[in-house]
Symmetry: C2
DNA sequence: AATACTTGATTGATCGATCAACCAAGTATT
DNA sequence: AATACTTGGTTGATCGATCAATCAAGTATT
């Protein structure tokens, strides 16, 4: 099992999907940049979509080591870890002149009729990401309040990350990212200040607003 | 100038871009569904991308009447208007079995090398949307605090909308939308409670009934 | 008659995918 | 130890479909 070729395909596809998106990346693009021949690619992958599956699996399996570990070394405070992660995305934006896009978020919005396997992998990437945030929130339970809906807030942090990048990228202006993060900061500050009753409890009391 | 054909092209393209995305929609798709012939389309539009420009201009010019007016009739409270708008998106998710995606957000993440004109229109759509939110925040200035960064919070609301839809759509689960909105609710609740110049501690308020 | 619009066949490029042939390193058989 | 056969991978020409776009000839409108 020569996985060198397979890996080269995967890494190249990862690059290209991030640069140009899934649909705008042709199989020929992948072949050209990875110096792999058509038949070899189809030897390892049944089709283009299975390359995407491989890429998404790679992202999913690398969240801890590739994404979190680099930005969390030296950061012990659980809340600061959350904002250190957001800082990591900010660094990507800086390095790419606000061209960076979250690869998962971009794919999630680009793929309109996702194969179940693809959709599950997108969801799994989101889940692992926000679970990592939730662990931080658990560790900061005493400061944020024990009755806080930590799952909801973890998903909210993911939302802010995705939305902040989306806007910064669209406007090509880091200010949009920073302002979004600043509001999230203020949210945490308020949580810490009056932690006794400001949490998100059940949704039942809010539901009447929607209908 | 027969703009019936032009409009039919525009409306059809709008539908298809929303359903399948920009790249996955072929010119032939637009021609087929709109019952327009190839030459007619290229008579009104230099190319496919210019159809996209037309669609984005249509969205931009219709935000007030098409998007806001329907969900704001009967809602006077400025803060409730914000959540009524989010409720409108929730309704779309319900109607589409959590398949709905914000057309602007999806395009913003799908188009990786945007023509300046396209990018400007995406940005203009975001700007008009968050400006409408900002007006609500201005109107609620007394309740939220005068020193609030209302622009930042308006962009934050946009972020939450986009992120909440992204997650609900990826998971095909409305709960992700609701939890995100609930956290935003709690943010507003905390803002109202801790607003500058008010004696929060003196008030004998029931913490659980802020809405 | 001039302009505006429609018709639909047609272009060349590019798309994802297939295929037979080839090859080197095992493994089994004699 | 020599031979036959399998496995896992590579090569690159080639397929039909589809892509966005073109264009000459037509009809309708003014």
């Amino acid at each position: 099992m020569n996985s060198d070729t397979r890996n080269r395909i995967l890494m190249t596809a990862m690059e290209l999907f991030w640069e140009k998106g899934y649909h705008s990346t042709s199989v020929a693009d992948i072949l050209g940049r990875s110096q792999v021949h058509s038949g070899s690619l189809y030897h390892f992958f049944p089709g283009k979509q299975d390359v995407l599956v491989g890429v998404l699996e790679f992202y999913r399996d690398g969240i801890r080591e590739q994404l979190l570990a680099p930005v969390w070394t030296g950061v012990d405070d659980p809340v600061e870890r959350i904002f250190a992660l957001l800082g990591g995305y900010r660094a990507h934006l800086v390095l790419t002149d606000c061209t960076y896009g979250c690869p998962i978020g971009s794919l999630a919005l680009e793929i309109h009729e996702p194969d179940p396997k693809v959709r599950d992998l997108l969801a799994a990437n989101f889940t692992n990401w926000s679970l990592a945030i939730e662990e931080c929130l658990d560790a900061a339970q005493d400061r944020l309040g024990a009755d806080l809906d930590r799952r909801a807030l973890a998903e909210f942090v993911l939302t802010v990350m995705e939305g902040a990048i989306m806007q910064a990228r669209t406007y090509r202006d880091l200010g949009y990212f920073d302002r979004n993060v600043a509001v999230l900061r203020s949210h945490f500050a308020m949580l810490e200040r009056n932690r006794a009753g400001s949490s998100v409890r059940g949704e039942s009391e809010d539901k009447r607003t929607w209908n």
